[in-house]
């Protein structure tokens, strides 16, 4: 599965670890929420990066005590029309100030990239190679945004209030 980070396709340094596989001492891993919550200390005391795969029907509040030590949280889109992870992403970024990698996994298609970026995702396990290749262009598709979100883009509301020249209006 191609991984996009920073607008380009990159090598994925994380391994999705199966629940019955032994937790390795080295190397970045993504482990399931069950495994993580069963023994957070074991996962977080490793010297390499640990990330958790968080299902979209579980409160992200449960992650709160561990967020400053987690390197990555992967949120799941089981099908692309199931949008629960957008809410989880905004809560993690905007309310809980999570600064690690926020990764979208599952059915991740180019038509969601703009929404995902605005919700706070910064890494994307993209289903189709062609979508991954198109990422940088698709991410630029929209230049105006109505809603304030944690991505910090200036909204149309505020651009108007910054007194754009009269000529811009009709």
């Amino acid at each position: 599965m191609p991984l996009v980070k920073g607008n380009t396709v990159v090598a994925d340094d994380y391994v999705h670890l199966a629940d019955d596989a032994e937790l390795p001492a080295d190397g970045a891993v993504l482990i399931t929420a069950e495994r993580f919550l069963a023994d957070p200390e074991a996962a977080l005391s490793r010297k390499d990066k640990t990330g958790v795969i968080w299902p979209n029907n579980r409160d992200v509040d449960d992650l709160l005590p561990h967020l400053d030590r987690l390197a990555a949280v992967a949120l799941v889109f089981p099908v692309f029309r199931d949008g629960r992870a957008y809410t989880q992403a905004r809560l993690l970024r905007e309310r809980f100030k999570f600064r690690g990698e926020l990764r979208a996994i599952g059915q991740v298609l180019r038509d969601q990239f703009v929404f995902m970026l605005r919700a706070g995702f910064d890494a994307f396990e993209v289903k189709k190679q062609s979508d991954a290749d198109a990422f940088a262009n698709v991410a630029k598709r929209y230049s105006v945004f109505y809603q304030p979100t944690g991505d910090g883009r200036i909204t149309a509301f505020h651009r108007r209030l910054m007194h754009l020249p009269e000529g811009v209006r009709s």
């Binding site: 957008y86 703009v114 605005r118 062609s130 109505y146 809603q147 149309a156 651009r159």
Partner: protein
Amino acid sequence: MYAYDELDRTIVNERVSEFRDQVARRLSGELTEDEFKSLRLMNGVYLQLHAYMLRIAIPYGTLSSKQLRALAHVARKYDRGYGHFTTRQNIQYNWIKLAELPDALADLAKVGIHGMQTSGNCIRNVTSDQWAGVAPGEVEDPRIWAEILRQYSTLHPEFSFLPRKFKFAITASDHDRAAIKVHDIGLRIHRNAAGESGFEVLVGGGLGRTPFIAKTINEFVSHRDILSYVEAILRVYNQYGRRDNIYKARIKILVHELGIEKFKQEVEEEWVQMRDGALALDAAEVEDIRSRFFYPKYEKLSDTPDELKKALQNPNFEAWYKNSVAAHKAPGYGIVTLSLKPVGGPPGDATAEQMDEIADLAEKYSFGEIRVGHEQNLALPHVARRDLPALWRALDKIGVATPNVNLVTDIIACPGLDYCSLANARSIPIAQEITRRFANHDTANLIGRLHVNISGCINACGHHHVGHIGILGVEKNGEEFYQITIGGRADENAVLGHLVGPAVPFDQVADVIEDIVEAYLALRQRPDELFVDAVKRLGVEPFKERVYATR
């Protein structure tokens, strides 16, 4: 009227360009139909019985003459010369080719209209009172807030993949013409004890398979807090709304299953954490939106000009005037409803020629503004009363002066089995037959206000649950049958109708409606007791007896 600026136009154009790319990827096979489906729906594109259907948003029902001409152009160039106005202040085209959809949308984008979020599991076109801004006694113009909500909800990054569709309606009048109690979120602008205007927020209303009247979640939310409050509701719904069963996925089910108290608690816990964030609205932001609404400069005119007094001697004009002209907040002006319900016609259809002519008349007589109501009629919101006779003659020429607004032939109907792939039964021919039965204006006038609503399936696009008389098409052993309800209403006293009895076959529906109406005429206390009030007083029984005694 709200004037789009460069920023609004940029979003619409960028959306068209995105959709053009999506259509190209679908046509090349790069996108599967399953992937394309959600994307096309969010641009108002359905795959119907015969062809793709394109649904265009008319936010809060306000259109300019220029925009209406663009709608006529699309009907003429890409469709078969007509469009269908719906109960959601939208217009639908039924015969557009997939490959031409991006061009049609690009043509509409030039005048700032689009198909964004007219379908799909996102926040749909925000609807409002079609008399907003001109109705006497309104607290304030609710379209300011509808526009704020439109902007807030357009391409919302968190709420574009909700469990199900999500509908807002907003009113600022005592008399609710926006049917807010049958919406996912209904907003009623009113004043609190301190005289400050704010929002009563209702949640969890809706029709369809499991109809509910919305419940009040908060009596008064301030202007400042309204966006954060609705975001809190949407966030709770996005997280906890059911996704396991499409029939249980609407917010009304979540509200029902949790109970309004528990739901409110969830919402307000969420709200407390975000109400002082970036969504808090300050007066400058609201003022900026308000400043981009255009309000006509009304002249000081007489309510009883000589032209009008003279014309009222013509009984045809008088009948239309009484039926179609409503009071306006500005003296000397009226709000004129244009009936899209001619006898024998499909409710809500307008031809390209009619649209062009109405656009011209709006320019001449209504400051270039047209409204679309959820009853599938149009309105000219600012007509000088002295111009009414001339306007009437022009409207009559193009067939939109039938004096039947709010009467038994002013039927709301979905497209039904004639167009819709979901339908189980036809709606349009039922509507056409009923309008023929009650074609005599004197009879219809004698009956008085009576709303007949027809849906061709349980999804209730014709809002049959809240019709004074509701007609629901169902299929039994390959035949069309119709369940009849009475006593529903969609206004400030909204209530769901009650079933009269067993479903009847297609060819008996109009007879049954006649029986019900005759029973009402015999049973009403006074000529001004409305049908729906008589049903409330008497219950279903006397009507049921009348209908089934001979069947």
